[in-house]
Symmetry: C2
Subunit: 289 residues, 2 copies
């Protein structure tokens, strides 16, 4: 049995200290390194969705920026290996990564937000990442182990949709994430998938900070008519049924799409649109938790 | 070297006939069984998307139903292990699967469509399928090998979004799918992901039947104002750039969402809405190819 004290937290109870059964020496050293990085991060929040295309990455970017704008030290990790959106959402597609002595340095966005994404490592923006589980697991481990996040108040993880390899790997690797925010759209088919995310969190003992209903109604810019294109209220009802907090609704707003497509976080734009107010209210609830 | 003639196509050139290097006897027998099933299916079409939530399953269901309504023999395989949508989209959530002598019998929808989904095997609709790659591969192989599709004109595969394990496994297992239909939404971030799907198809020598732009504009039901909530025209431009066929645009329509949520294919409803006409035109183009 190899034993050591965590160099960062100087604690005997840190789970990095002892080698586990069936763990190789290299796996132990990797895990120790990873735990030492993670020890310096106060809050690790996962942004999840049962289904893709519900605005999960938009929520992750805006949550991270809202925290950073409040003066918190924040990191944002894009763990969506097959569809990394963060470089585009923050207009960082041409950013170059710096690596030194097996340490990967995150990109600093707007002087306040540390960002890491597999998108930064793809030679061509159109490359398909056709990888199987074990290779993906290795990359996620490297992200967590080798990225020099430094001391952070918050690390926000933008996970791929579903309940597959990546969210499972991250939960196993960082051992104790502080909580998950689940994003959904209102229609019944999306709610059905989000129930699976709730059960995924419960199986992994991951606290659920709450659920957000995105794309919740559209106000016609000409006549002001409100249409619930994707239905309405499904997430709130599901949250009540499953006894998890409901954080609020964000309406469909073409301005959110425009901001995303031009690589600007929506939250940093000072405006009084329904969507902006809704977004800010939700983020306040998450921060308070 | 074990050798055999395909029992179904009675051909020496069928790739089921010879055991491959490094292939176990069981893997060989499984592959032979699988090829014998696949031999009976004239056209295997994959419905793909680079990003989730773009309406891929809706397109798959309606494409399958449109073909079936034209008198074709059609099967629909829901290969989205983490978020199987087909049982809900066809109101088959309480359907019971029948298994006999290692043969799984598909559910018959509306007397004309054979349907298989992992959703039928989940005890609870809210269960999360927290599986890693190898286990997923095994299930997909079983679907292809053990499901008694019989003779079909078309088998439509509804794949999970992205370029990961499931689409890769299916392409490897069935060896030569006839083509892929790629579904996207118009915003730049979705188009960026769909380029990856195009390259995924090219790397795997999978012919691309074309790309569909879904959620392409919303007409206010009160004043008729057209708003491009998710932007417009991105898919057509991308298709031209990447030299793939553009199949058409489907507008955002709350009626499509309502039909989906109530488990009815949109295509079987006789109506003259913009969305219905657009859908029919696209399906004609796919069938002609």
């Amino acid at each position: 049995m190899t034993s050591s004290t965590c160099k960062t937290c100087d604690s005997n109870s840190c789970s990095a200290q002892n080698i586990r059964a069936n763990e190789s020496q290299q796996d132990f050293l990797d895990r120790q390194m990873l735990m030492q990085r993670m020890c310096k991060i106060k809050n690790k929040i996962l942004v999840l969705s049962g289904k893709g295309g519900v605005g999960k990455s938009t929520v992750a970017v805006n949550l991270a920026m809202a925290l950073a704008l409040k003066g918190k030290k924040v990191g944002l990790l894009d763990a969506d290996i097959h569809g990394p959106s963060i470089p585009k959402l923050l207009n960082l597609e041409s950013a170059k990564i710096s690596v030194s002595n097996n340490t990967i340095f995150p990109i600093i966005y707007d002087n306040i937000l540390k960002v890491m994404s597999i998108g930064f490592f793809l030679e061509n923006r159109d490359d398909a990442v056709i990888w199987r589980g074990p290779r993906k697991f290795g990359l996620i481990k490297q992200f967590l182990k080798d990225v020099d996040w430094g001391e952070l108040d918050y690390l926000i993880f933008d996970l791929p949709p579903g309940t597959g390899d990546e969210p499972l790997s991250i939960c196993q690797l960082i051992e104790k994430p502080d909580g998950a925010v689940i994003v959904t759209t209102p229609q019944s088919i999306a709610i059905s998938d989000v129930r699976k995310s709730v059960n995924f969190c419960r199986e992994l003992d991951l606290p659920i900070l709450g659920v957000i209903e995105n794309m919740s109604g559209f106000i016609c810019p000409k006549c002001g008519e409100l249409t619930y294109i994707f239905s309405h209220g499904g997430a709130k009802k599901m949250a009540e049924e499953m006894k998890i907090p409901f954080l609020g609704e964000i309406p469909l707003d073409p301005n959110i799409v425009k901001k995303c497509d031009s690589g600007n976080p929506f939250i940093s734009q000072n405006n009084n649109s329904h969507a902006s107010i809704a977004f800010n209210n939700i983020i306040q609830l998450i921060i308070k938790k």
